[in-house]
């Protein structure tokens, strides 16, 4: 995306016209000798991160959960794969897999759009996804995504986290994910309104930047209508658990 082109004019306080013109304003492309650009600032990069890869323990109900993403692309345009899910008692739930395209729109935010498939041991749902992702004020990581399903339903997901540096390698990270739905979907244990929360307070130690084991306290549970649905199915809704995990990226 080309930034604002100069020249344009503004009026200074004294009423005197200032004519802005950048010496390096975009113009006819330079023909480089041997068609070699002197530097390559449009390189593509490929990274992936597993924010959560953890076992959640409590008497009688221990889960395994992952949440991660990978991207490939340039400074402006990237393709993302996001995946999260929980394996509980041999069954996989809360499996949200996404394929997104993102475009940088401001200093700290990217616009994202794509598809989400709820793939796990429950019934399958597919959604169109559209949202923003970036760094909010005071360095909060933020992701807000809206969804519309193939059945005409709407959903939303809000995710946020923050890194408190206790030392340069010991980092305390509160994190939360909230899911909203316009209509209930009992087969997926989803209720209308705020349906479920998955949150954690993770204390990680970065042995090196890309590899950090952590201990955490996590909470996962349904709220409101979803809670009634889950309880109606004879299950417990909501549990706070002691958690071990590994955060890693490449």
């Amino acid at each position: 995306m080309m930034p604002l082109c100069f020249p344009f004019s503004v009026f200074a306080a004294e009423g005197q016209e200032i004519h802005y013109h950048a010496a390096d304003a975009p113009s006819e492309p330079v023909i480089y000798i041997g068609n070699t650009a002197p530097i390559m600032d449009q390189a593509t990069y490929f990274h992936g991160i597993l924010d959560e890869f953890e076992g959640r323990y409590s008497p009688g109900k221990s889960d395994f959960r992952w949440d991660g993403e990978a991207w490939y692309g340039t400074d402006y345009d990237r393709v993302w794969i996001r995946s999260e899910g929980t394996v509980s008692g041999g069954k996989m739930g809360d499996g949200q897999q996404e394929l997104l395209y993102s475009h940088a729109i401001s200093t700290y935010f990217n616009l994202q759009g794509g598809v989400r498939a709820d793939l796990d041991d429950g019934p399958e749902r597919t959604w169109g996804a559209f949202g923003i992702q970036g760094l909010a004020l005071y360095q909060f990581e933020l992701q807000a995504t809206g969804y519309v399903s193939d059945r005409g339903r709407f959903a939303g997901r809000l995710e946020g986290s923050y890194d408190f540096l206790l030392t340069n390698r010991l980092i305390l990270q509160p994190q939360a994910e909230l899911n909203f739905y316009t209509k209930s979907d009992a087969a997926r244990q989803v209720g209308s309104g705020l349906s479920d929360i998955d949150a954690g307070l993770r204390l990680r130690y970065e042995i090196w930047r890309k590899f950090a084991p952590y201990v955490a306290v996590t909470y996962a549970g349904q709220i409101g209508q979803a809670r009634h649905i889950v309880q109606g199915q004879g299950e417990r809704s909501g549990s706070t658990r002691f958690t071990f995990g590994i955060r890693g990226w490449f």
Binding site: M1, M2, P3, L4, F6, V10, I18, H19, Y20, H21, A22, A23, D24, A25, P26, S27, E28, V30, Y32, I33, G34, N35, T36, A37, P38, I39, M40, D41, Q42, A43, Y45, H47, D75, Y76, A104, I105, S106, T107, Y108, L135, L137, Y138, Q139, F164, L165, L166, T167, N168, R169, W208, R209, W249
Partner: protein, 589 residues
């Protein structure tokens, strides 16, 4: 606490570069004979106008880090090239690499097709090919050469150039050494850039934390004040402790290819005068240099003689050179101590009467912390200790933009043409606008303000002879240095290289460049092919430089005579800033 765990070379090809000139002596590659007969840092006995250089990869281990380093003649640094002013030199560079290469003669005024920048000067040197550089030397002094292809420079493709003046120095020093500072890491440069794109503070392990809070509270006077400062930075989504993007976590800092523990040594006899030619050939590191126990006389900057300045310490930006003269009286060793600006490590050498001697290594200073001055918002902190200095700086900064006298009466005429981009946009590629940029040429730089030592600053640099072109500028170009640390994109005027046009100059015109640094980091700005005459208040005697440090939140200017036609590179010499967009093409025609 190294990030990388790789540490040793393969057994069959193990080669240690630890002794004096060892790499060259052990190297199997036939190359310039001068390199092999000289210990690292010592000048070849005589100048030579003809050279055959081979660029190849050699497995080299320094400080336990092993690398197939691209280099000239199989050594890091490459051989010192000693030339003579007035000579026409001819250098055959043969590429033994499997990729294209190039050599750029940093600071040397050459025709543009000899400047060695692929795409702008020539097409590069293809594998197996030989390119002959040929140019006449109009200048003398200390310079350096380095690769300008890909990331070869970051891995070892660099070396020193010493050009003897046509008229020999009437009082030459008894000793003359090159002190070339650089970094060494076995982390691939592309991985470094990729890591920075993913996490901008990847290599920074000196950030403010809960553990450092009590100390900050004590310094700030109260916990509330310290908290407020933190919140201010956090609100801007920036870090006050961002000094160097890449740090001693992966870098070993070298003197003439020697890690601190192998201690490069320059010999002397007491009362001899020693000329030390400091060259900063690193990719990302500014060094603060001192020799405890010795006063240094700065006599040359970027190859050009300056009136001697006595200092205890000076900062050398990436790609700058400084010649200093010292005269040790005692029969003892002295440590050449070059700490990185972020204080995560140091390069170290020794001056000694006998080899094998060493002196104490001083502790590193506290790492600098950025302030609102670095953000170009000096007015927000009136009680800061630097406040008064900056008010003065502010005024001279305003003078500058309003066509200052700067020692020349003829400058009353306004320039015919002015390229002012206006304040840069806050966009994907720019994070900050310096609302109140100030003149910081009088400051030695962040972290050197209150050391109790005499530290060099730019205003002190005074050329020994008046400038060659006394015309007032007819063209003024304002360039904002911009960047987004979070995304790790750098540029000028809110654009990276691939989104900007070239800067066009008329052949022969006199141009004033005004740099406004909207970022919170220093940028060593290098203009190829033409001199940059720093407007530091020395009037007709303002210094000629090839690389100028723009301090964070600052505004400075320099004059350029566009007397050589062609396409020239203009860029920040921090390699990962250059490669993420802080680069422009200048076309003189």
């Amino acid at each position: 606490m190294s990030i990388s765990s790789r540490s040793s070379c393969g057994l069959t090809r193990r080669r240690f570069v630890t002794g004096l000139g060892a790499g060259g002596l052990l190297g199997g590659l036939p190359a310039n004979a001068h390199a092999f007969t000289q210990p690292m840092g010592s000048l070849p006995a005589t100048s030579s106008a003809n050279h055959n250089l081979r660029v190849g990869r050699t497995r080299i281990e320094i400080d336990g880090k092993c690398l197939d380093a691209p280099s000239v003649g199989g050594t890091v640094p490459g051989p010192i090239l000693r030339w003579k002013q007035g000579d026409t030199v001819s250098i055959n560079v043969t590429n033994d690499l499997s990729e294209s290469t190039s050599i750029h003669w940093h600071g040397i005024r050459v025709p543009s097709n000899m400047d060695g920048v692929p795409g702008l000067s020539f097409a590069g040197i293809a594998p197996g090919e030989t390119f002959t550089y040929r140019f006449r030397l109009h200048q003398s002094g200390t310079y350096w050469y380095h690769g300008h292809s890909g990331m070869q420079e970051a891995q070892g493709l660099y070396g020193a150039i010493v050009i003897d003046p046509r008229t020999p120095d009437p009082t030459p020093c008894e000793r003359d050494y090159v002190v070339l500072l650089s970094e060494w890491t076995d982390v691939d440069p592309m991985d470094i850039l990729s890591n920075l794109k993913m996490q901008d503070d990847y290599y920074t392990f000196r950030q403010r934390t809960a553990a450092s809070f009590p100390r900050e509270a004590k310094q700030a006077g109260s916990g509330i004040a310290a908290l407020k400062d933190r919140l201010a930075w956090s609100k801007m989504r920036m870090s006050a402790t961002d000094i160097s993007d890449v740090s001693g976590v992966i870098f070993s800092y070298l003197v003439n290819g020697h890690a601190p523990d192998t201690n490069w040594t320059g010999l002397f006899r007491p009362n001899e005068r020693i000329r030390l030619r400091f060259i900063n050939a690193s990719t990302m590191t500014f060094f603060d240099i001192r020799i405890p126990g010795l006063e240094m006389q700065v006599v040359q900057a970027d190859g050009n003689d300056v009136e001697p300045i006595s200092v205890d310490e000076f900062r050398i930006g990436v790609a700058e050179t400084y010649d200093v003269i010292v005269q040790p009286k005692d029969e003892r060793a002295y440590t050449i101590f070059a700490q990185s600006e972020d204080r995560t490590g140091y390069a170290r050498g020794t001056l000694a009467p006998h080899s094998g001697m060493s002196a104490a290594i001083p502790p590193m200073d506290p790492r600098p912390v950025r302030t609102m001055i670095d953000m170009g918002m000096s007015h927000m902190k009136p009680n800061d200790s630097m406040g008064s200095m900056n008010m003065a700086g502010d005024m001279s900064g305003m003078q500058m933009s309003g066509m200052s006298m700067k020692g020349m009466g003829s400058m009353k005429m306004p320039p015919l043409k002015r390229d002012d981009p206006g304040p840069p946009p806050l966009n994907v590629e720019n994070q900050n606008v310096a609302m109140m940029p100030v003149d910081r040429t009088g400051s030695p730089g962040d972290g050197l303000e209150n050391t109790g030592r005499r530290v060099l600053n730019y205003r002190q640099l005074r050329a020994t002879r008046p400038g060659a072109d006394m015309r007032p500028p007819s063209h003024e170009i304002i360039m904002h240095l911009t960047g987004n640390m979070e995304r790790y994109i750098w540029g000028f005027n809110g654009r990276k290289f691939s989104e900007a046009g070239p800067i066009r100059l008329k052949l022969g015109e006199r141009v004033r460049f005004i740099l406004i640094n909207d970022t919170m980091m220093e940028h060593p700005i290098h203009l190829h092919g033409l001199w940059s005459e720093l407007e530091n208040g020395q009037g007709a005697y303002q210094p000629y430089k090839h690389t100028i440090i723009s301090q964070p939140g600052s505004k400075l200017s320099y004059l350029v005579t566009a007397d050589t036609p062609g396409m020239w590179a203009y860029h920040c010499h921090l390699m990962y800033h250059m490669d993420s967009g802080m680069f422009r093409t200048i076309i003189v025609s």
